[in-house]
């Protein structure tokens, strides 16, 4: 829009003004997004009127909507025994709380330790006194080949139970988690480390406090480390990957409040249980029967700006959480940059093969492109990390995976843009006395680059956004940082918004640099 083809010149003044306007407009849109939920919460609080019967116990939820963590014991049990309760399934407890606050559901069922912590941080929510779901036991997971380690852990748990220490640890974290601190243990530094897979997004089980790992599982692991005198290396990953990681050898053990089920026990070893987890149901206080409300409720409204400011303080400033975002940002930029660089080089090579007259080469390139474009990146990433390159660090493997995927897309872009250059251009170059290679380099390439740049930019942006799935293979990127913050503050919205804004800025920065390079090249 700022490139005038007739003048053939770039107008920097017009470009700058246009670009600034564009950036400002986008930022304004983000701010409006930030205000919207606070405003809607304010207004819904004033307008909504509850007419149905107040909830006093679990039975009262019949015929209503209940939020459950997807495919957990709660999910399966309620579905089987209470077919008249409609279930909404969620991945995180924070999302369930958000749904409850927005009155999309009438109750949210979850493990008691999480429920206590969540309710303490959320206004206007009360816990029902009963839950029909039978208690479950928490255990630590080991790979089947690690029976020796499992035995040592069981002995360790037995010792803690006997001395009553286990009960103390649990009481400290569950009942007084606001003030609970990790003990100062003399951690061993020598010897072969035990790799422990954890998802530090659930308070008070495992979470990040003041940039350090905390929670009762974390404390247990540290104590175990002292007990067997081996250092601990913590591998952060998605909850879904925890159990698999012990069988693929990415980790020796996994602990994040994992519940013992028969299904899971078939593929991995469980330690002896160290905690009985009960289910609890949270409901909105205004919907609850007066008899179960404890009475310490009643906070005044902060107003729109007040609540934004509080969200900002809680999610960004407290416990130096901006450092988490900053580290995640660095990882995202790092992965994006190297994937794009490597992918572009690989893409150019694939394009060369695809256009070569050698039949085998071009067929190979075609098959490569078809496979890469036909496979979801996430599936490819999991296969690369958990099947093909299990012994390598996940970050470089992720970079290679994204590069491979990126290469397939950009190679086709390169090909179309190169073949869109008139054959006469090549002929004229050759007739002038350039060798075929130099003709390509001096004549065809600059024109092809100019043509491919707009679509290439789009693909680059989508690569940057695609990197947000590296959390699945335990790389702590920007998206992952937002998950960790949400797991602590239970603010469902604000961290996501921050991260969206940061992705936007990265994409903008990358395309800005690309524009600069593009203007220089052609």
């Amino acid at each position: 829009m700022c490139y005038n083809p007739r003048a053939g010149r770039f107008n920097p003044g017009l470009y700058k003004m246009n670009k600034t306007l564009h950036i400002v407009a986008t930022l304004v849109a983000y701010v409006m997004l930030a205000v919207a939920p606070a405003w809607s919460a304010e207004s819904s609080a004033e307008t909504s009127q509850q007419t149905s019967k107040p909830i006093a116990c679990f039975e009262d939820l019949r015929g209503r909507v209940l939020a459950v963590p997807s495919s957990t014991v709660q999910d399966i049990y309620v579905e089987e025994h209470y077919p008249d309760i409609r279930l909404d399934r969620f991945d995180t407890e924070a999302d369930m709380m958000l749904s409850l606050q927005q009155e999309k559901c009438d109750g949210a069922i979850m493990d008691d330790v999480i429920c206590y912590a969540l309710v303490r941080k959320t206004e206007g929510v009360t816990i029902l006194p009963d839950s029909p779901v039978p208690p479950c036991q928490m255990g630590v997971v080991f790979g089947k080949h690690n029976a020796e380690l499992c035995k040592q852990f069981n002995a360790f748990i037995a010792q803690l139970k006997a001395s009553g220490e286990l009960q103390q640890i649990m009481d400290r974290w569950i009942k007084h988690f606001d003030t609970a601190e990790m003990p100062n243990l003399p951690l061993p530094t020598k010897g072969e480390p035990i790799r422990v897979a954890m998802e530090p997004c659930t308070e008070p089980i495992v979470f990040i406090k003041n940039e350090k790992i905390a929670g009762f599982d974390a404390e247990l692991v540290q104590r175990f480390s002292v007990y067997i005198n081996r250092p601990v290396e913590i591998v952060e990953m998605e909850y879904d990957s925890l159990i698999a990681s012990t069988t693929t050898g990415k980790a020796d053990m996994a602990a994040s409040g994992i519940l013992i089920t028969e299904e899971r026990a078939e593929s991995v070893l469980f330690s002896d249980p160290y905690y009985d987890s009960h289910s609890r149901v949270a409901v909105l206080t205004k919907n609850a029967d007066a008899s179960i409300i404890s009475g310490n409720e009643g906070t005044q409204s902060l107003g729109i700006w007040g609540s934004i400011k509080r969200s900002f303080m809680r999610n960004i400033i407290e416990e130096r959480r901006y450092m988490l975002l900053w580290d995640g940002l660095k990882v995202t930029v790092y992965i994006s940059f190297f994937s794009a660089l490597l992918g572009t080089i690989l893409g150019a090579f694939i394009c060369y093969l695809r256009m070569s007259s050698c039949k085998i080469c071009s067929t190979f390139a075609r098959v490569y492109i078809d496979i890469m474009r036909g496979t979801p990146v996430l599936v490819l990433l999991m296969m690369m990390c958990y099947v093909a390159f299990t012994q390598f660090d996940n970050t470089p493997v992720a970079i290679i995976t994204f590069a491979m995927n990126f290469a397939a897309y950009v190679s086709e872009m390169f090909r179309t843009s190169i073949s869109s250059i008139d054959k006469g251009q090549t002929e004229a170059g050759i007739a002038l006395g350039f060798s075929p290679v130099r003709t390509f380099y001096h004549i065809v390439l600059p024109q092809a680059v100019r043509r491919v740049l707009p679509v290439y930019k789009g693909e680059l942006i989508s690569l940057i956004k695609n990197t947000s799935i590296v959390g699945y293979v335990a790389v702590a990127d920007l998206t992952r940082a937002s998950y960790i913050i949400r797991g602590r503050t239970f603010d469902p919205f604000f961290p996501l918004l921050m991260v969206a804004l940061m992705y936007f800025l990265i994409a903008w920065l990358f395309t800005y640099i690309l524009d600069r390079i593009g203007n220089k090249v052609c």
């Binding site: 004229a428 007739a431 002038l432 350039f434």
Partner: protein
């Protein structure tokens, strides 16, 4: 300077050049003419090896270039080429188009190359547009810039591949006058062209190519005024044929009339010429033996000279007929010849022609 012997080129099974022999001497301006599809462009492209010939030899300055030992890039630097579709480098300004060769291939400094380029651009009248991009130029301007670009490598010969075929009629002359100026300066050139009058007055030698060979060559005068061979004459005089075959006395006279009429309209014959031709035709068809077998009738008109002639091939075994006794024929025809061709009697009638 360049000797071409028995040059052959085929694309798959299609043979485009069968046997081309030509010597190009320094300072010559050679125009290559001929009907489309006879391999003129292919011949030119074979000269600088844009197409690899499949047989024969090309000897440049005493050196065989088809044995694969020659540095083709170096060779091409000595031969400029101007294309029908200009092929200016679209991402470079006019000046950069003219500079890129000397800077990247001859290792000249940018400053030196620019000074030389401006000189060349002045020569072709494009100095004013030196900083324009190719897509801002008209076709004629593009072609002149392309000529400057080919000159920038200081070639010993320039090959022009139909330089004006892609141009509007209004822009043809500006390009031709640049080529004419180069010819005056003694540049060696080979030009494939359809501009007959240009070929006639710019070239030192004209080559008529037809069906993959050099059919006739000579000075412009020889080729255009006194072509020796039949196909050359048909081509340079732009002679158009009308043919009708009589199988019996009851031929379809309305079909003949409408086809002849359509032919005359197509080549813009005057009403008067048409009337004359029909008069002669009527006499012929009345006097000729139509009942003895197939009789072929040809009517020929030259777009170049506007001369008209007729040819009649009598059926096998029929005797000569007295045509000159007809007053109409005596009056309207300048000559009537008869001879025997493949056992058939052939009459050739030339119609009287008012000189322009």
């Amino acid at each position: 300077m360049i000797q071409i012997k028995h040059l052959q080129k085929s694309f798959g099974k299609i043979e485009v050049l069968t046997d081309v022999n030509l010597n190009i001497k320094c300072g010559e301006v050679i125009s290559i003419i001929g009907p489309s599809g006879t391999g003129k462009s292919t011949f030119l492209r074979c000269l600088n090896l844009l197409e690899q010939p499949t047989g024969g030899s090309i000897i440049i300055d005493g050196e065989e270039v088809l044995n694969g030992k020659v540095n083709t890039s170096k060779l091409r630097q000595k031969m400029g080429m101007v294309f029908q579709s200009f092929n200016l480098f679209n991402h470079l300004s006019v000046l950069d188009n003219v500079c890129i060769g000397p800077v990247k291939l001859k290792g000249k400094s940018r400053k030196e190359a620019e000074a030389k380029a401006m000189e060349l651009l002045k020569l072709v009248g494009m100095a004013e547009k030196a900083h324009a991009m190719p897509d801002e130029l008209s076709g004629g301007q593009k072609q002149r810039a392309a000529i400057a670009r080919s000159l920038s490598m200081e070639p010993e010969i320039i090959l022009f591949d139909e330089p004006t075929s892609a141009l509007d009629p209004t822009m043809v002359s500006e390009v031709l006058s640049v080529i004419r100026a180069l010819a005056r300066q003694g540049m060696t050139m080979a030009i494939v062209t359809h501009e007959m009058s240009f070929a006639r007055d710019v070239s030192t030698r004209v080559v008529y190519m037809d069906k993959g060979i050099i059919y006739e060559e000579g000075t412009p005068e020889e080729i255009f005024e006194h072509p020796k061979r039949e196909r050359t004459r048909v081509f340079v005089n732009r002679i158009r044929d009308f043919h009708f075959a009589f199988h019996s006395p009851d031929y379809d006279r309305f079909l003949l009339k409408s086809e002849w009429q359509a032919y005359c309209n197509k080549y813009f014959l005057t009403r008067e010429s048409m009337r004359k031709a029909q008069l002669i035709g009527n006499v012929l068809f009345r006097n000729l033996p139509l009942d003895k077998g197939t009789l072929d009738f040809y009517f020929r008109y030259s777009e170049q000279t506007r001369e008209m002639s007729m040819e009649v091939l009598l059926p096998f075994g029929t005797d000569e007929v007295d045509l000159e006794s007809s007053q109409i024929i005596r009056e309207l025809c300048s000559s009537v010849e008869s001879n025997i061709e493949d056992d058939r009697v052939k009459y050739k009638l030339k119609l009287r022609h008012k000189n322009r």
